[in-house]
Amino acid sequence: MSIDKDKIKHISKLARISVDEEKIDDLIKDLSSIFNFIEQLNELNTDKVEPLSSILNLPLRSRKDEINDGKIRDKILENSPQKNEEFFVVPKVIE
């Protein structure tokens, strides 16, 4: 697979990471060599293999959907880069 400028722009949009114009060429080079490397997997015939879904060979536990904590708003807001007394603050979304 070939990686070009458009593809880098598309992925970085999906990943919500802005990429500097001058760094795009380096990224093309790095990602191309990485994809070249991982595409070795195409040598293998996997038609009859089930994809691994759990490494434990055990089903995940389920639990009752019960409230076990709460009333910790201040704790949750503690590390926010921008907040007022009760809310996270973000750039204006609705005009």
Partner: protein, 488 residues
């Protein structure tokens, strides 16, 4: 008393229990070493002051019936510690102070230990040389210009330099075992699910596993005992009875079958590594084990599989860093989306961004089957290889790394050559099984080299026993000239 900081954890615990030393005296000796260190850069946050208070409190009414009574421990800065900054080696979390404690560190504190500091690591544990950390690279105490390995590079460096008596790391593709091998220390990656992941900054959730890094195999058994255990807060935690790994440790390994996988003999592998492996085989044979040639035929596909699965999971896990709930936020951008994009662009380093982009791509519409699904199929094949081998053998012996510690900057600009460092460690994570790296010799430069033992799921005791037997016969000793204490 001879320098207490050079002793093994097991010896230190014994001295504390016999009341021959106090926790304060012990803690002071490590603080002295930390303060004397001018170059290693293994600590991101120094908690000496608090540690000293804890030590004094311990000495007032010592509780000696615990596994780690009055022991100061510095931990990888990937474990959330309540009220103490936890950075994951990233600018994104430079000022993040968790309001909760990870289960693993909590288990250590419940056994009588306390926090000495937070140790440097590759950013979000993504790296094999500790060069991706926002807080600068770490040096390996074995020689001034070498890397300590990664991602638990600060942990390995601090341990080898006697800045902490033991430590803990996390291992997603070799991040405990490779730095252990590079620094002449012992590192264990437990079975997936044995140690809780709750409160550890997530990288790739189906691969991440916390484990001990220690000076001896006996220390490793003791630490695993303190760390392991069921945790209902981790949905993949295994519910099983606690084991007394340290009490049940034995060097009697007569009759055990040890597999030697031919696929681990790679092209261009240094002669010293080959010799190391042969020596390991000989020691096991002399100890009464039976050596059996085996095949793990899909070994060469493990690394390509890993570089699909791990970035895919990372791209999903790291989506949480949006500059809203916690962490860094960029001041640039005219709307919400631009704020997200600039925050993530400025807050993450190059390697982390590279992996998020790879992960986003392999999960994106139209490519999921070709990459991610394909990788999960190959992952199953790799796991099957191990399952089949373990019908014939009790454990597998391989080298831990394809080279000894390399120089700073040597592989920094070539991601693939950096990734190849984990060629022997990655298959174990993909299969979710346990493996231990122990120091087993040196190369021409006198740099340490490690051997890796791989075991069946939840068979840590046997793995530790075999490692213990090999360690005794090899009798690896490292003497470092403490060059990092010079100011010039």
């Amino acid at each position: 008393m001879s320098d207490i900081s050079k002793k093994s954890l097991t010896e230190i615990v014994k001295l504390i229990k016999k009341k021959e030393i106090k926790s304060e005296e012990l803690t002071q000796s490590f603080i002295k070493n930390i303060n004397n260190d001018k170059k290693l850069n293994s600590f991101i946050t120094n908690c000496s002051e608090n540690a000293l208070k804890k030590a004094q409190n311990f000495d007032k009414s010592p509780k000696l019936e615990t596994l780690l009574p009055g022991i100061p421990i510095a931990v990888k800065d990937l474990f959330c510690t309540k009220g103490v900054r936890t950075t994951a080696g990233s600018k994104m979390l430079e000022n993040f102070i968790p309001s909760y404690e990870s289960t693993i560190t909590n288990n250590l504190w419940n056994e009588g230990a306390f926090l000495l500091g937070k140790l440097n690591c590759d950013e979000y544990a993504m790296g094999s040389s500790n060069e991706t950390s926002y807080f600068g690279n770490v040096l390996n105490p074995i020689a001034e210009n070498t890397v300590p390995g990664g991602s638990s590079g600060g942990s390995a460096s601090a341990l080898a330099a006697d800045l902490t008596p033991t430590t803990i790391g996390t291992d997603t593709g070799g991040s405990i075992r490779q730095p252990a091998s590079f620094t002449g220390t012992v590192g264990l990656k437990p079975t997936y699910g044995l140690c809780s992941r709750w409160g550890i900054v997530a990288f790739a959730s189906s691969l991440d596993q916390a484990g001990p890094m220690t000076k001896t195999v006996q220390d490793c058994a003791l630490m695993l005992e303190a760390m392991a255990g069921f945790d209902k807060k981790d949905s993949t935690s295994i519910n099983k009875k606690k084991e007394n790994y340290s009490k049940n440790l034995t060097e009697n390994i007569k009759g055990l079958k040890i597999g030697i996988p031919k696929e681990y003999r790679v092209d261009g592998m240094p002669k010293e590594i080959d010799r190391l492996w042969e020596n390991g085989k000989k020691i096991l044979k002399d100890s009464g084990a039976e050596i059996i040639d085996i095949s793990l035929s899909n070994t060469k596909y493990a690394l390509p599989t890993y570089y699909i699965v791990a970035p895919a999971e990372a791209s999903s896990n790291l989506a949480r860093y949006d500059g809203v709930k916690y962490g860094f936020r960029s001041t640039k951008g005219n709307n919400l989306i631009e704020m997200y994009e600039n925050t993530r662009s400025e807050g993450f380093g190059d390697e982390v961004k590279r992996r998020i982009l790879i992960g986003t791509y392999v999960l994106s519409s139209g490519y999921y089957d070709a990459y991610y699904l394909k990788a999960q199929k190959v992952r199953q094949m790799i796991k099957n290889d191990f399952d089949q081998s373990f019908e014939k053998v009790d454990a597998i012996l391989t080298p831990a790394t394809p080279t000894s510690a390399f120089k700073i900057g040597e592989k920094k600009d070539d991601p693939i050559s950096m990734y190849l460092n984990d060629i022997f460690t990655v298959p174990v994570n993909l299969a979710g099984i346990p493996a231990i790296s122990i120091p087993a010799g040196v190369d021409n430069n006198n740099y340490p080299l490690g051997l890796q033992l791989i075991g069946k799921p939840l068979d840590e005791q046997k793995l530790l026993n075999i490692a213990y037997a090999v360690e005794k016969k090899i009798n690896f000793k490292q003497s470092l000239n403490r060059w990092w204490e010079n100011n010039v």
